[in-house]
Symmetry: C2
Subunit: 385 residues, 2 copies
């Protein structure tokens, strides 16, 4: 039985409005460099796990099969996983499990999504259908609405300000401008972010992540194989997962995600680390308020102090815990199925010391935090060199 499981290869497609590529082509654009990075051919991989959130976005029923075939996996085992916006991390969790369980030694995880082709209003509409289609969606609420409720309550309880929300976006864009795979590679000023058009009060345009196309891929391997494949394995040492009620009106509090706390507790315990040990993190910033809540729910600061955390610059490189220094969902983009795998990509780059201008010096412990919907799914993973 294998002891540890490592990421031994990573690849990333350019996120953006990719009218030039279908979902299979985006997957190939990410899987090919991941295999090259691991110095493996597709025939040397034991199984694939494909993460795609929406059949409708892919315009393909059972879309994992198309990707599996197109990246050259042939007769190897495969299936698709889905956990809404946390789909990619469900893929990483599944690959880790397949390897630890002994069903495979080397697994390719591909996360992909095509979204821009339907336009932003329709994409927002389709994502809203991941809310409860019996009891929430028919009344008109969309995801900006869900998170606006949380932001409103967070501002009410803790005095979190519009400026602090906008500061999250300014940070994301600062780092996104340094990430060649990011959708929007441009910095924004605090004034621009604060004065951007309202989407759903109190959230403005710059509080909301992008609708993007994209893909990311990682190759994961058992300890025995990993050591043969690479000198720079990055070990996935802590895996936590949590859920929450389907409808947010059933939750006792809106100022945080209970699923994040559950997932983080599992992951920290399993990896024998504390929040203070995390050198760099990718957290789920689908909306600015989500990143602020993530600081708190992951234990980087106390509940209610997330606004202060960004205002003090603690989530910048050089701060207490650099967060989303790849640009995050806000600037890099959020092709649903790709996001969790892209987070893994970034943490591996950081722990290998290959993150270039956005490198966190000496990073040894990294964390990914990937939320589906409003916490119906949450996966927290802790990586070590």
């Amino acid at each position: 039985m294998t002891d540890r499981v490592a990421v031994v290869g990573i690849g990333h497609a350019k996120f953006g409005k990719r009218t030039d590529a279908t979902i299979r082509e985006l997957a190939h654009e990410a899987a090919t460099p991941a295999l090259e990075d691991a110095k493996l051919t597709a025939t040397e991989i034991d199984a694939s796990v494909v993460g795609i959130a929406g059949d409708v976005f892919a315009a393909q029923g059972s879309p994992g099969a198309v990707v599996h075939d197109y990246v050259g996996m042939g007769s190897k085992p495969s299936f698709r996983v889905e956990a809404a916006c946390a789909t990619g991390s469900a893929g990483v969790r599944t690959a880790w499990s397949l390897i630890r369980a002994g069903l495979a030694q080397v697994v390719l995880v591909v996360g992909a999504e095509t979204m821009t082709h339907v336009g932003t209003p329709m994409a927002t509409e389709w994502m809203a259908r991941a809310g409860d289609t019996r009891w929430e969606y028919p009344y008109g609420i969309t995801f900006p609405g869900f998170y606006a409720l949380m932001a409103t309550r967070h501002m009410h309880e803790f005095g979190t300000s519009r400026m602090q929300l906008s500061m999250v976006s300014v940070k994301s864009h600062k780092y996104g401008a340094m990430n060649p795979y990011a959708h929007l590679q441009k910095e924004v000023s605090l004034e621009e972010a604060m004065k951007s058009v309202p989407i759903c009060q109190p959230l403005n345009l710059y509080d909301c992540c992008l609708i993007s196309d994209g893909a990311a891929a990682v190759v994961m391997a058992s300890e025995e194989r990993a050591k043969k494949i690479t000198d720079t394995p990055v070990w996935l040492r802590g895996l936590g997962a949590g859920s929450d009620t389907m409808m947010i009106n059933e939750r006792p509090s809106l100022v945080g995600l209970a699923a994040t706390k559950v997932a983080a507790e599992h992951a920290y315990k399993m990896a024998t680390v504390t929040p203070g040990d995390i050198d760099v993190a990718c957290t789920h910033d689908c909306f600015s308020i989500a990143e602020i809540m993530s600081y708190e729910d992951l234990g980087f600061c106390k509940k209610g102090e997330g606004g202060k955390f960004i205002e003090e610059g603690q989530s910048y490189v050089g701060g207490k815990v650099p967060v989303n220094v790849d640009g995050g969902l806000k600037s890099k983009g959020h092709p649903l199925g790709a996001t969790g795998v892209s987070m893994t990509y970034e943490i591996v780059k950081q722990l290998r010391g290959e993150a270039g201008k956005r490198q966190v010096a000496g990073a040894e412990v990294g964390l990914t935090h990937n939320v589906g919907e409003t916490g119906q799914y949450c996966f927290v993973h802790v990586y070590k060199r």
Copy 2:
């Protein structure tokens, strides 16, 4: 690290045209008896895996979250798996892996689908979109068409007859009439089956499985926990999986499914059994020709002799390998995500000796064979008492 993993609880919703129930209610109808069978409450389960093939059929984005919540799993880890018509078996494989990997001790697998609400023509259309939507679907082929091509070639190469195809249906309906959960609980005569309306030459109505709503659930546990939970654990000892090209025109042969052979080889080897050891099997009879090919590809008979196998009654109770004595997809129904879990349900019933009138006396080794699309996914599982 856990050694073996067992099924310790099973539950089944009534398959059929279930206009009385939503997908969450069907899932509940299956999960509740599964938990009762294991004498566990939902709070004692560590994680859920939900198998649902189509968002569109469920009329719910990310439909696993709704099921997870409604069956009472609260904050526990979950995600959805999908492998087209083999979705349920991907769920069982995932649960086995999570347990073996040590991420959970007891896992609930729920497979569910609602299909009849869209009507048979639209359901057929939507399923066709699991064919390649770039290179197959636009040219009008649907799943009866794919399997009709295979049937035509099988008849051409091996002399398989229309009568033999119909005999598969007669057997399915004989046993389906004894299964209280089956959609169509009625026997059909060979004459009725042979004279039923053509669907896609050479396949008639009775060669094609039903469009059904339904759900099934199983509770799986580590060896340590299983022994405390039940005196009749059924151990999942062999797991095999295979894939094939996305487009069937790229395959060297149409008279069998290469993915089945790959998956069976893995499963037999892992379980240290041969085809001759299988006492009872549920195989993927989405079309009559698919069951005939399954006899061959699983090694119950030689390639080309599947027609003779059914004609000689070898797949009846008392024959060489009783197959689909729960009625199969043909008579029991095929709610996509539920099917693989329902196969597991039946094999556990058989190995526990609880299958009543359709019991295979003294069954000790059982097999499930679940195909997605035309073999883009295939999972073969071997169970032992």
